[in-house]
């Protein structure tokens, strides 16, 4: 220890390495229980304490923006629940610490089943969908740096369902990547470099998850798509098949798909072996060729940087959404069909609802960021600010 004073008040999460306060029961980044008490209650209150989003620290800079967290508060009872069983109606006292109803056995909805974060000009929604028992998607959305720079960091991760602890993998990956990106967006340095480093940090965080091998499941793994924006500059990075799109101020330029899926289908299309239609129809199409995790191919995240015409809208999503609008044309039509004055949270909710209505086959995550014209480029009337 080089700084005794700091060591007295700040320690490190044993799992993800994030700084934690002595009073913290759980690591804010990865949710690891830090005290005996927290460990004892893990799985009940522990899950609820794993919150989504990380606007703390930058909230003051955007005091005017709505700060609607849907994060549940820590439950009081030992079962951690105040609602009766959603299937058989057994009282909350009959829900066990693992979240199962002790009468009918059904796993009760978890805190991550539906989460929203609304930061005003940036917002995210994640939802369990209709056909998976758990939400293994996670997102992290955070404003960073001085307000005037419109710095923002977003990370969407989709836990690989054939891997163990997929929901923990996605959450720790998103948090670890966002921490790296936020530091650079809030300071100096290359957004592109930070994007690669962020994916590396996500890999380390996932590899640090303890897991028990089984003959059914692979080691913890997830996809990742990130966006780091500062002063109108954008860096998008990805590993796997979660996507990012850009919709600029000129509608005639259309919707731009920024990412290329690391998937079997895309590999067929890229090498010319199949058309997009043929590849998408193949049962193997969704197999991902790269992912974040211990047994992943050791390659850097792919990165795209741009300085787009502003204002514009950045959309990050997991395949739970784009499965229902796979081609860029379909996604463009889907976005066109939304109310033009929808705020980011409204759009994120509407797209989530669209995916749920279409079947909700997978977990759904949507992050929408409206990048405004930075103050330095605004006209004297401040017109560009009106839409906020």
């Amino acid at each position: 220890m080089t700084d005794e004073a700091e060591a007295a008040t700040v320690s490190i999460c044993p799992v993800c390495g994030a700084a934690v306060e002595p009073r913290d029961q759980f690591c804010e980044v990865c949710g690891t229980p830090l005290t005996e008490e927290a460990r004892a209650s893990e799985g009940s209150a522990g899950d609820a304490a794993r919150t989504m989003g990380g606007a703390s620290g930058t909230e003051d800079a955007f005091a005017g923006a709505p700060q609607t967290h849907s994060t549940p508060t820590a439950p009081a009872g030992p079962s951690g629940r105040t609602e009766p069983c959603v299937r058989c109606g057994a009282p909350p006292a009959d829900i066990d610490v693992d979240g199962y109803c002790t009468v009918c056995g059904l796993l009760q909805p978890g805190p991550r089943d539906h989460l929203e974060l609304d930061l005003g000009w940036a917002a995210g929604v994640t939802d369990r969908g209709r056909q998976h028992p758990r939400n293994e998607d996670a997102f992290h959305l955070e404003l960073a740096g001085p307000a005037a720079d419109f710095g923002v960091v977003a990370v969407v991760c989709d836990g690989v369902s054939s891997s163990v602890r997929a929901e923990d993998a996605s959450e720790s990956a998103a948090a670890a990547a966002a921490t790296v990106l936020a530091a650079v967006v809030g300071g100096a340095g290359s957004l592109a470099d930070a994007t690669v480093h962020a994916a590396d940090a996500a890999t380390r965080a996932v590899m640090a998850l303890p897991w028990t091998p089984t003959d059914q499941m692979a080691s913890p793994a997830c996809t990742l798509v990130s966006a780091a924006c500062r002063l109108g500059q954008v860096a998008v990075g990805w590993v796997g098949d979660s996507r990012a799109y850009w919709l600029g101020p000129d509608p005639s330029e259309g919707l731009l798909k920024l990412t290329v899926d690391d998937s079997w289908a895309e590999a067929q299309i890229e090498t010319g072996r199949m058309t997009e239609g043929e590849a998408e129809a193949d049962p193997r199409s969704h197999a991902i060729t790269r992912w974040i995790g211990a047994d992943a191919p050791d390659v850097d995240a792919r990165v795209i940087t741009m300085t787009p015409a502003l204002p514009g809208r950045l959309l990050l999503c997991s395949d739970g959404l784009w499965n229902y609008a796979s081609s860029t044309d379909d996604m463009a039509r889907l976005l066109d069909s939304q109310p033009p004055d929808a705020t980011p949270i409204q759009l994120a909710r509407a797209l989530t609802t669209f995916a749920l209505t279409a079947g909700g086959h997978d977990n759904i995550t949507v992050v929408v960021i409206d990048l405004p014209i930075p103050p330095a480029e605004r006209d004297t009337d401040g017109n560009a600010d009106q839409q906020r």
């Binding site: 066990d96 002790t102 009468v103 056995g105 059904l106 056909q131 028992p133 091998p213």
Partner: protein
């Protein structure tokens, strides 16, 4: 202090509409640091002294020697007694109606009493067990174990009398059963061992009795925790299809369920030392919707009504066939081992009944299963009863001449399983 751990091996993913949930739960008991607290324990050795034990006379002498060796293995302070059986039960040592704590002196007295035994009379296994039960009852809260040796059929009482005695003894003590020679009935001793959570085996050659008795008593002395139950919780709409121990041996527990309440039942597993056992639990549930996750069973280890460890058996309905069609290795392996035991017993029965066609099919399947699962001990026993032409396809020919002892060894040991190799990290 023994600590227990329980782990589940299963494919929790079910296809839409599927209702059967299978899991293997591995329970491991580990003795903690420091000297084990000696638990009050009692050991009763029951030897058959019916007239047939004189034919040949080496049988009784071997049984006497084996009992003496077993007495020497009884730990100081463990309460013990010796019963000799004919159509009645005779207490050989100590005074009728009591047990003695083992010491140098009492062990010597017991061995002298055993050496003086003479063979004469019939065989009434139930009567012997009833006396053992009476003696154990004088020592409440102790870890009770018995060894029963016989050489013949239970002919001096009715099957119904034996059944009644077994019902009275169940849960009171555990009993390992041995048949010496080939004139005893495997199914009869298996019934006793199964009711009293013990093993059954053949000791064809009386000369092997000493080693076997010594091993049994040493094994019993290694037990530290009495009356451990496997407690299975299932949801309201579910039913337990079966619960069976599948390693180290197959032991059906389904009918031994003791209801705790509507949704919870206890299955007795007897006393535990430092050991690991596998259980196959099969639960039939009301199918959920795709996307539902259900707790199909919560399997706990219960000692003195305290839950000491537990494992969860889950069901998740999915329309992803890649997930739902995976077969868990442990479940598949033990399903095979259970079938192996069953086809051996059915095959031998058919052979005895003169139905060679059925016997060939059943024992052929056994050869196939034993080879595929690496159960070399069973493969070896099988090869004394059938000529295996092709293990992979299960093609066998019945041997025309089979030694009775070999056939009985195959029958008694058919329930011995090999453990599944859990996946490496």
């Amino acid at each position: 202090m023994t600590t227990f751990s329980a782990e589940t091996y299963q494919n929790e993913y079910l296809a839409e509409g599927a209702a059967e949930v299978n899991a293997v739960v591995t329970v491991t008991a580990t003795a903690g640091g420091g000297a084990a607290q000696p638990t009050r324990a009692a050991e009763i050795i029951i030897i058959d002294i019916s007239g047939s034990m004189n034919y040949p006379a080496t049988k009784l002498r071997a049984a006497q020697q084996a009992t003496a060796a077993a007495i020497d293995c009884i730990r100081d302070g463990v309460w013990f007694a010796i019963i000799a059986g004919t159509k009645l039960a005779h207490q050989v040592y100590p005074a009728p109606g009591t047990l003695s704590p083992a010491s140098g002196e009492t062990r010597d007295e017991a061995k002298q009493a055993v050496a003086a035994l003479q063979a004469q009379g019939g065989t009434a296994i139930g009567a012997w067990l009833a006396l053992a039960n009476q003696l154990f009852a004088t020592l409440p809260l102790s870890l009770n174990h018995a060894i029963l040796l016989t050489d013949g059929k239970d002919e001096s009482e009715t099957a119904e009398e034996l059944n009644q005695t077994l019902a009275a003894c169940e849960g009171r003590f555990q009993c390992d059963c041995r048949g010496v020679g080939t004139d005893w009935v495997v199914s009869e001793l298996r019934k006793v061992a199964s009711a009293l959570l013990g093993s059954v085996d053949i000791v064809a050659d009386p000369a092997e009795l000493t080693a076997d008795f010594t091993a049994m008593v040493e094994h019993a002395m290694g037990k530290a925790t009495a009356d451990v139950a496997l407690r299975v919780w299932t949801p309201q709409t579910a039913t337990v299809s079966f619960v069976k121990q599948v390693a180290p041996t197959i032991a059906e527990l389904t009918d031994k369920r003791v209801p705790v309440n509507d949704r919870v039942g206890d299955y007795p597993t007897g006393a535990w030392g430092d050991e690991s056992r596998d259980y196959h639990v099969c639960v039939t549930v009301k199918p959920g919707a795709v996307g539902d996750e259900m707790l199909a069973a919560r399997v706990s280890l219960v000692v003195d009504d305290q839950v000491v460890s537990q494992a969860l058996v889950k069901a998740i309905w999915t329309d992803d066939a890649a997930l739902s069609t995976r077969i868990n290795r442990a479940v598949a392996h033990y399903t095979g081992q259970a079938e192996l035991a069953q086809v051996i017993q059915e095959g031998l029965e058919a052979r005895k009944a003169g139905d060679d066609a059925t016997a060939t099919v059943k024992l052929g399947r056994a050869a196939q299963l034993a080879a595929a699962s690496g159960n070399d001990a069973t493969t070896k026993l099988l090869s004394k009863v059938v000529d295996v032409e092709d293990a992979a396809s299960g093609t066998v020919r019945l041997k025309s001449r089979v030694d009775d002892a070999d056939e009985m060894a195959l029958d008694t040991r058919s329930t011995k399983t090999v453990r599944v190799t859990k996946s490496a990290p």
